[in-house]
Amino acid sequence: MTTLAAKPVSPLFLSRLLRGILPLLIVLIVGFFAVAAPGFLSLGNLSSLLLNNFVLLALVAIGMTWAVAAGGIDLSVGTAVDFAALAFVVLLNGGHGLAIAVPGALLAGALVGGFNAGLIAGLGITPFLATLGTLFIGTSVQQLLSEGGQPIYIAQSVLPGLTAVSWLGLPLPLWLVLGVALAYGVILALGRLGREILAVGTQVQLARYSGLSIRSISLKVFVASALACAVAGIVLSSTVNAYVPMSGNGFLINAIGAVFMGTTLSRSGRANIPGTLLGVLFINVIANGLLLIGWNFYWQQVATGALILLVLAFSFASRRLQTL
């Protein structure tokens, strides 16, 4: 291991290039599909893209962002989505109306988050394994309650119709994403809790020795993560008008990918909300675009996977060059 003799590319330039890669790629890809795919830029397509794909993944990824920023990860995001969806549907079918069903769903999600926090902060289990355990247990519980995966449909008389609601031309679910993103983003970037999360995520011993309560921060992070997923659960079940067991797990991988791709936006590689949203957009745009230009649905996943890998590789490689 000898020291490098050559002088590397100017770090400032590299840093700017790195931070610009994700937005740049999105612009390029959007441009590409706008040209190559008929109907890509049509209102119908874009709104369907945003509404159906973007919203749910974005909410889950926002929750995941906080967990990653705090130095951990949350594998049980799908569980929170599903539990919230389950509570929502059951409460609606029980005739309790939205005023009870929505808080009930949020509470169900919060419980999942609290369970995680209990394992992580209370028992000191590492987040990967703790949330893995929650995922297992959550799957089991759902299988038992739904008798092996039978969906529970919302009765016709109590359809929530949330997805049809519009305000200022934008559908309600999109407003929810904006609201949640704004709240979580502002707190993470400018809030006291955000600073504490940053400290715990980068140097946990130092945080402990500075008088921060790791337990309380963990609790807030994992409950908040689960709450964001609970909102996704409400939107999901409103969209398909049913609770489909274990459907939340599908978001996990893309959420993780989006969060880590989003770290390229930050100068120091920290997880951040705007980056996460761009990451989600990236994934959705590619999937949608490929679909429109007639690519086999299955090749989409390959392409998405390859592109995520490339972005991650670029991000880590450049960051390493930067610190030399």
Binding site: L129, T304, A306, F316
Partner: protein, 331 residues
């Protein structure tokens, strides 16, 4: 920790430590005993052989993951991990079925399938060692990619196939024990000898536990980590043969195996004195899960409980291990 320190700990912790160290094996036996008493035919040789056979797929995958975990260190976030194993299995199975159905010679399809598994392993090795992505992310991304390739081949449906190899694996017997069980045991033996008793294995442990020490000793850390991913890829291919035999072709949903494989690899550590991942421990953990599922089946308990039990087991084991390790850590 040395005995003197153990004795200085409060009673509860001492019990916990003792339980974890010696108790895991006892726990295993206890569970078997419970099933033996309550479930009909549990201890019959046919049933036991069946469990071994059914555990082959999970077990071989878990061996692969064990090697990666050993070489990368057991810190879950930055340490060795291969999340693409299950997807690799799916891809290899799909490749084998496709090649076989396309009329290739027996050895050709087998060889190319093994190559496929190795190629995925090499991809992981490159992203982790050369590009230096954290294994969690690297293998997550490759899992995505590989699962996509599998879908391209299978169009999300089953690809039935048949061959001499699959015939032997599925229906063959030797000494009244199914061939699949033998495969599990042979792979366990081979890898066990490699990892636990050869210099390669010892050095792999060194690389995972303390890379600086390995480097100072002149070991090429990158090469060992890369090789562990190759082994994992080979295991995935081997498990793919077993899976194809079991399902008479390639099947969907192999991704669901992933979490169980991860659980088993980490649970396996509890059966070793040093609480590190190891091949024999992984074998025991695989069988434990296998007997659990089998016992539930025989007792007519819904299989839905299995996931929950897995989850609780992981949490129990990990909680006690981290209490033991007494590592100052945050999230």
């Amino acid at each position: 920790m040395p005995a003197s320190e153990i004795l200085a700990q409060p009673l509860f912790r001492r019990l916990g430590l003792l339980l974890l160290r010696r108790g895991s094996l006892l726990g295993f036996v206890a569970i078997l005993a419970v099933f033996a008493v309550s479930a009909p035919n549990f201890l019959s040789p046919g049933n036991i052989a069946n469990v071994f056979a059914q555990s082959a797929i999970l077990g071989i995958l878990a061996f692969g993951l064990t090697c990666v975990v050993i070489g990368g260190g057991s810190n879950v976030v930055s340490g060795g991990l291969d999340l693409s194993l299950a997807a690799n299995l799916g891809l290899c199975a799909a490749v084998y079925s496709s090649l076989n159905n396309a009329g290739l010679q027996g050895w050709e399809s087998i060889g190319l399938t093994l190559l496929c598994g190795l190629a995925v392993g090499a991809l992981n090795g490159i992203t982790v060692v050369v590009l230096r992505l954290p294994p969690l992310l690297a293998t997550l991304a490759s899992m995505n990619l590989i699962a996509g390739l599998e879908l391209v081949l299978t169009h999300n449906s089953v690809l039935p196939t048949d061959s001499a190899l699959l015939d032997i694996l599925a229906n063959g017997e030797w000494l009244q024990v199914p061939v699949l069980a033998w495969v599990l045991l042979v792979v366990a033996l081979l890898l066990g000898l490699l990892i636990q008793h050869s210099p390669y294995g010892l050095r792999l442990y060194a690389v995972g536990e303390y890379p600086e020490a390995a480097r100072a000793a002149g070991l090429g850390v990158g090469r060992y980590v890369f090789s562990s991913y190759l082994i994992a890829g080979l295991c995935a291919a081997t498990a793919a043969f077993c899976s194809s035999a079991y399902f008479s072709g390639s099947t969907t949903g192999s991704g669901e195996l992933l979490l169980s494989v991860v659980a088993i690899a980490f649970l396996g550590g509890v059966f070793s004195r040093r609480l590190v991942a190891n091949i024999p421990g992984t074998l025991l953990a695989t069988l434990l899960l296998g007997f659990l599922i089998n016992g539930f089946q025989l007792l007519n308990i819904a299989s839905f409980w299995v996931n929950g039990v897995q989850g609780v087991l992981i949490l129990l084991v990990v909680a006690m291990s981290s209490a033991l390790r007494k590592e100052e850590g945050g999230l």
